[in-house]
């Protein structure tokens, strides 16, 4: 800005501005001995690692050539495999003729997630919309009422990841609220029960909970009531999410001042109306950034269901790699899968940042 106010010929201006910008960059890169050292160190590291990576990723890579032999000869990445197998990677072993169904399911979930991100749409209507959508999704994936039936054992790929995330969080949210309220209850039996449940779930790795759910449920339940693998994994994920959400919501409850409770009591409101009308709306608004972070954790965690034999993105990647016609380009496939997870979780993380910067909504 200062450069602009200096009296000087108009054509000299841009070079001058460019020069000061360069000078500033130079100062940042080499201003102090430490900065100079850092520049040399990181510069050397980037020069050594980035060009070979780019060569492998793009320059020497096979992009769309549908012939598997092109990949055998190339030194670079084999993206044509990912391109040719994208249907199988994204939708797993879902029947070929019916693939439009999981595709619509993915689009609907992503669209609804995007819609729910807008603070303006956080109303009771949104909740109803979600419940209606979930029913629609289950019908579209599972079939019945005019559509060919597809058992959950054939569900696979991205829709499994998205459905597990959304449904687990959807069920876990009200359970988490109940647990958070129970943990703050004045009744010792209720409080101790909640503490034991929350802390033991939080103390265990999700993988062990998934294992326990898949090993123990067949023993706990009579055979007639035994749910399939998909539901077992969903139960484990829901319990896990509920314990974490409960702690997040408890944080929000603790932020509500005592005056709010007293005012509600002075109005003669009993316990549940007080929570529903006064306390919870405020408490949940305070913790929305933390809730968004929990959603990210859950998106990442659903990738673990592969170890209990569910067909998520990773397993469909492994299945695609088993095709003997292609050289099996594992690194490319998992990079692609990682990129999907990264895109989902990174965009949600930016949303959480935006909420955090905006601060709690005033009321």
């Amino acid at each position: 800005m200062k450069a602009l106010s200096l009296p000087m010929p108009a054509e000299a201006l841009p070079r001058r501005v460019r020069f000061t910008a360069l000078l500033r960059l130079g100062k940042l890169l080499f201003g102090t001995p430490l900065n100079g050292l850092l520049t040399v160190l990181f510069g050397a590291m980037l020069v050594v690692t980035v060009p070979p990576m780019l060569r492998w990723l793009i320059i020497d890579a096979v992009l769309f050539d549908p012939d598997p032999d092109a990949c055998r000869e190339a030194v670079g990445a084999c993206w044509s495999f990912v391109y040719a197998k994208s249907g199988q990677l994204l939708f797993g072993i879902y029947p070929l003729a019916e693939r439009w169904r999981p595709a619509i399911v993915c689009l609907v979930i992503l669209a609804l997630l995007g819609w729910s991100v807008r603070p303006a749409s956080w109303t009771a209507r949104l909740l109803a919309l979600w419940i209606a959508t979930l029913a629609f999704i289950v019908w579209l994936m599972g079939g019945g009422f005019g559509l060919a039936e597809v058992p959950t054992a054939s569900w696979g790929g991205l829709p499994v990841t998205l459905i597990l995330t959304v449904v687990a969080i959807g069920i876990a949210f009200p359970v988490g609220i109940l647990l958070a309220l129970a943990r703050r209850s004045t009744m010792p039996a209720v409080r101790i029960g909640a503490v034991v449940l929350i802390e033991s779930v939080r103390g265990l790795p999700l993988l062990s909970i998934l294992f326990v759910a898949s090993i123990m449920m067949p023993l706990f339940l009579p055979e007639a009531l035994l749910p399939d693998k998909f539901v077992r994994a969903l139960v484990a994920l829901t319990i896990f999410a509920a314990a974490y959400l409960a702690e997040v919501i408890r944080g929000g409850l603790q932020a509500i001042s005592k005056g709010q409770y007293e005012a509600a009591a002075a109005l003669g409101l009993p316990f549940w109306p007080m929570q529903y009308l006064i306390i919870l709306p405020q408490a949940i608004r305070v913790v929305i950034p933390a809730l968004a972070n929990t959603v990210i954790v859950m998106i990442k965690n659903t990738s673990l269901v592969l170890v209990v034999g569910l067909f998520d993105l990773i397993s469909s990647g492994k299945a695609a790699l088993a095709d003997p016609e292609w050289p099996s380009p594992a690194a490319e496939t998992f990079l692609f899968i990682g990129a999907i997870f990264f895109a989902l979780s990174f965009s949600f993380a930016r949303f959480a940042d935006f909420l955090e910067r905006r601060g709690p909504v005033s009321h």
Binding site: M187, V190, S208, F211, P218, L219, F220, F341
Partner: protein
């Protein structure tokens, strides 16, 4: 009667406890009925029987005719070994990356930002499987092993690093421990009389003397390449190396963010005060900022350490036999699933409880005592 708050709350609790108890009885009943129907015995006696399971690698010695309890201990030792290494490496790297993220040098802060974002937004299991698939693509066969550092070789068969073995006698060790305990306790008693500056060198001197008295020798065995194989040194398999590198990359991203948050939480005024005292940037960081930062970052750091223990279960994705993987094999081999599940739950709860109570104890010690 129901309008009385006290009576109602007691009634609610009685109903709740009764419901939980009824549910538990029902579960136990069905479980035992199911077990009987399948002819599965229940009890922990199987632990003493020979396991005959295969554990592909272990830091404790293990033979397949060892009993089940030893197989469990071997798996647990692998988990603790793995978690400890990841915690140490990612703490050091996380401190560096977190500080570099705040550097005014755009090259340094940019690179570290990319690391942090990639680590925080990818599922660790995908990261591990990706790294494992890279192993045979990037690294050369054993004959052309890379030699990035003196004594460190990397090839398709994993890493080979120098083997450091500790050589000591029991008598020397006992004398040294006695000396250390005596010296440290006298320092503790005298700590108000001598200046704080002398305390650290005195402690260090004690440790050196103790090491000298104990006559501990560190024998370093350098690996040498003999035609087709390495002799000497420690071999880290691709599985162990992958999970070590992968979890370290992942955890470093989180610890770097914690460190960055900690440094930012120390107000600008502290930096200004340090500058006005004429301290250099490095000294302000070391003497003023980091001690204050430690208080802020300790609780989140501890939950990261607990996460490392939990994430070490992902070893199963690349086939490293950690505790959970060993337990899984044992359960499918012995069909003692109930007992196995109890051991899994108990061990992880105990591990995490130990870690968090150690951290709480340290936290209480360094927290500011307000009047």
């Amino acid at each position: 009667m129901l309008s009385d708050v006290k009576t109602r709350s007691i009634l609610i609790q009685i109903v709740l406890v009764a419901a939980v108890a009824a549910f538990a009885v029902l579960l136990v009943h069905t479980t035992f009925a199911n077990l009987r129907a399948r002819g599965i015995p229940v009890g922990f006696d199987f632990l003493a029987m020979p396991s005959r399971i295969v554990i592909s690698e272990a830091i404790l010695t293990y033979k397949s005719r060892d009993p089940y309890y030893w197989a469990i201990a071997v798996g647990l030792a692998n988990t603790i070994f793995l978690s400890t290494l990841v915690i140490v490496f990612s703490s050091i790297l996380g401190l560096i990356v977190g500080i570099a993220r705040l550097s005014s040098n755009p090259l340094a802060s940019g690179t570290c930002r990319v690391w942090v974002e990639l680590a925080r937004n990818s599922p660790p299991i995908v990261l591990l499987i990706f790294l494992y698939s890279l192993w045979w693509k990037v690294l050369p066969p054993v004959g052309e092993a890379l030699n990035p550092l003196p004594g460190v070789y990397a090839s398709m068969r994993g890493f080979v690093v120098p083997d450091v073995s500790v050589n000591l006698s029991t008598a020397g060790l006992l004398t040294a421990i006695a000396l250390l305990v005596l010296g440290m306790s006298s320092l503790l008693v005298l700590r108000n009389m001598i200046s704080r500056l002398a305390l650290a060198p005195a402690g260090l001197f004690l440790v050196v003397v103790a090491l000298w008295v104990a006559d501990i020798r560190f024998d370093v065995e350098w690996p040498t390449f003999t035609g087709s194989n390495f002799s000497g040194g420690n071999e880290l398999t691709p599985e162990l190396s992958t999970i070590l590198i992968g979890l370290t990359i992942y955890t470093t991203g989180f610890i770097a963010e914690i460190v960055r948050g900690g440094i930012l939480s120390v107000g600008r005024g502290q930096w200004d005060a340090g500058h006005s005292l004429g301290l250099s940037r490095g000294k302000i960081l070391r003497l003023v900022v980091i001690p204050q930062m430690l208080r802020v970052i300790l609780p989140p750091l501890n939950s990261q350490y607990i996460n490392v223990v939990k994430n070490s279960t992902l070893a199963i994705a690349v086939g490293y036999p950690d505790f959970l993987a060993v337990m899984n094999t044992i359960i499918s081999k012995s069909s003692h699933s109930i007992e196995g599940v109890f051991i899994i739950l108990g061990v992880y709860l105990l591990l995490n409880l130990t870690l968090s109570s150690a951290a709480n104890w340290y936290n209480r010690r360094i927290s500011i005592v307000e009047r």
